[in-house]
Amino acid sequence: MNVLAIDTSTYVLGVSVIKEGQPVGEKMTNIKKNHALRLMPAVEQLLRDVDIKPADLDRIVVSHGPGSYTGVRIAVTTAKTLAWSLNIPVVGVSSLEALAQNGRYFQGLIAPFIDARRGQVFTGLYQGGTGSVENVIEDGLTDHRAWLEKLKSYQKPVLFLGNEWDKHVEVIEEIMGEQAVLAKPADRLLKPAQLAELGIEKTPLENVHALTPQYLRLAEAEAKWMEQNGREEEKR
């Protein structure tokens, strides 16, 4: 199976190709540079390098969020349009689950996180140890402090992975103390080849059109509208 995986859910831009089951190429940058300019040229170049034409692809894998709204949309739009026009399946993978793969041989809990501003994080809890990870607590948006207090109550070591590390490492150490296992810089970033592998294990969507970003947060205007309309309903 030939698989193309793409991720632009954070500052990381990742593209990888698996050819007949083997990872043959990967491109990853972790810089604040425009994904919109760089994603398709990266795909184009990588496929050329590994001698695969778009028509040779059997599956597209994409990290469908959470993460940057715009970044996730760029990748999801690209993935679903590629899959639709090549008439091949597409798999959307949680960007947190894909990131958690960096701890797949870690004997303990894994807490991948993506900064969500104002002291919040997109995060979920995973269990590693056997070369694959199992989800323990579903991905969601949460206050980081409250989340860490909860993790502490497990009284087990927890592996932390995530970019925008400097914003979060202090509070992790403060609350988790000795329980915190801090990943090294290279292990804090989503690895595109692991995203591809994860996408191979998963069942593709039956309908390519149904692939949508998993923002895990309402648009601000939508949230306000819901709040107001909820209040009006209460008044009635």
Partner: protein
């Protein structure tokens, strides 16, 4: 490549261009043959969703686009009875517009072009609006376009295909914006343009509102003063305990807008010695404007094109049409094509 060869090639084989337009709150995909025949022009409007907020919310618009885009592409190809293999190029609006919305169209277009090994063509949204006229009749140069929409008020002179000279533009609000703001003042629902146009036909333009002619030699526009005058008129009447008919106010506002739009267009047409005048953009749907411009062009003997309503508002057929001419000139884009919130029409 010379023009002659292009034209020959054009005649030998039909050119099919798929267009994608997502600059604001419409997800649209069209297939146009030879830059002229609209095989389909599918437009998914999000207006019902944005009505809740009283205007287009960019993040909400972007979310709808990504949910819709491949469905609309599929629907367009089905309706046009064209396969991906029949296409010669993929054209897409690269801007101006809402960046988040544009990015969805741009990435769908890139993926489509890449997967099928087709040229990618980034199109300026205003060029698209102007080329909507080519879907109605052959353009005759030199040509003057009055581009009026929620985001634009421009006078554009073209001496030939692909050459755009913006001779006048708004210094503050776009005309569509002024309509929306005045509609809100009168208490009309969003979107305000069609509501005012309709109301204006029921009233008499008996209130004297200002006309912003600016400097005598300027083709620029300004609508913020007019908008303030409307607000002041309402306010003063209220203070005096008088009631102003909304239809009278709408008619007076519309009269002022159209006087300036038509007046400046006709002056520019004379000054630049154009062969033809074209109306473009969403506000071209305005009945009052269509009527007055038609009358003025008849009186002064100018050939005038006004596209049907479906081609005036944002749509992908116009992008495919403009894209076809760029394709024939060999103006294609690379895979690093970006969405641009604003950039000049050249």
């Amino acid at each position: 490549m010379g023009d002659v060869k292009m034209n020959e090639g054009f005649k030998e084989k039909d050119i099919y261009v798929l267009g994608i337009e997502t600059s604001c709150d419409e997800t649209s995909v069209a297939v146009v043959k030879n830059g002229r025949d609209v095989l389909c022009n599918v437009i998914a409007s999000q207006i019902e969703s944005h009505k809740r907020f009283g205007g287009v919310v960019p993040e909400v618009a972007s979310r709808h686009h990504v949910e819709q885009v491949t469905l609309i592409i599929e629907e367009a190809l089905t309706e046009a009875e064209v396969t991906l293999g029949d296409l010669d190029a993929v054209a897409v609006t690269e801007g101006p517009g809402l960046v988040g919305s544009l990015l969805v169209g741009v990435h769908a277009a890139k993926a489509l072009a890449f997967a099928n090994n087709l040229p990618l063509i980034g199109v300026h949204h205003i060029a698209g609006h102007i080329y909507a006229n080519h879907l109605v009749d052959t353009l005759k140069f030199p040509m003057l376009s009055l581009v009026v929409s929620g985001g634009h008020t421009e006078l554009v002179v073209m001496d030939e295909h692909g050459s755009f000279k913006v001779i006048g533009e708004t210094r503050d609000d776009a005309v569509g914006e002024a309509y929306d703001k005045v509609a809100r003042t009168i208490g009309l629902p969003y979107p305000g343009g069609p509501a005012i146009d309709q109301l204006a036909h029921e009233g008499e333009p008996s209130i004297d509102l200002p006309r912003a002619w600016l400097e005598p030699d300027s083709y620029d526009f300004s609508f913020s003063g007019l908008k303030s005058a409307v607000i002041n008129t309402l306010h003063n009447a209220k203070q005096r305990g008088e009631e102003i008919e909304a239809s009278t106010l709408a008619a007076s506002f519309q009269e002022s807008v159209i006087d300036v739009l038509v007046g400046k267009t006709m002056k520019a047409a004379r000054d630049y010695g154009v062969q033809q005048i074209c109306l473009a953009g969403g506000v071209a749907a305005n009945k009052g404007l269509r009527e007055r411009l038609s009358t003025a062009c008849e009186e002064e003997d100018y050939s005038l094109i006004i596209p049907p309503l479906s081609l005036c508002t944002d749509n992908a057929a116009m992008i495919a049409a403009a894209g076809t001419f760029q394709f024939m000139r060999g103006e294609t884009s690379e895979m690093d094509l970006n969405a641009r919130a604003s950039f000049p029409l050249r």
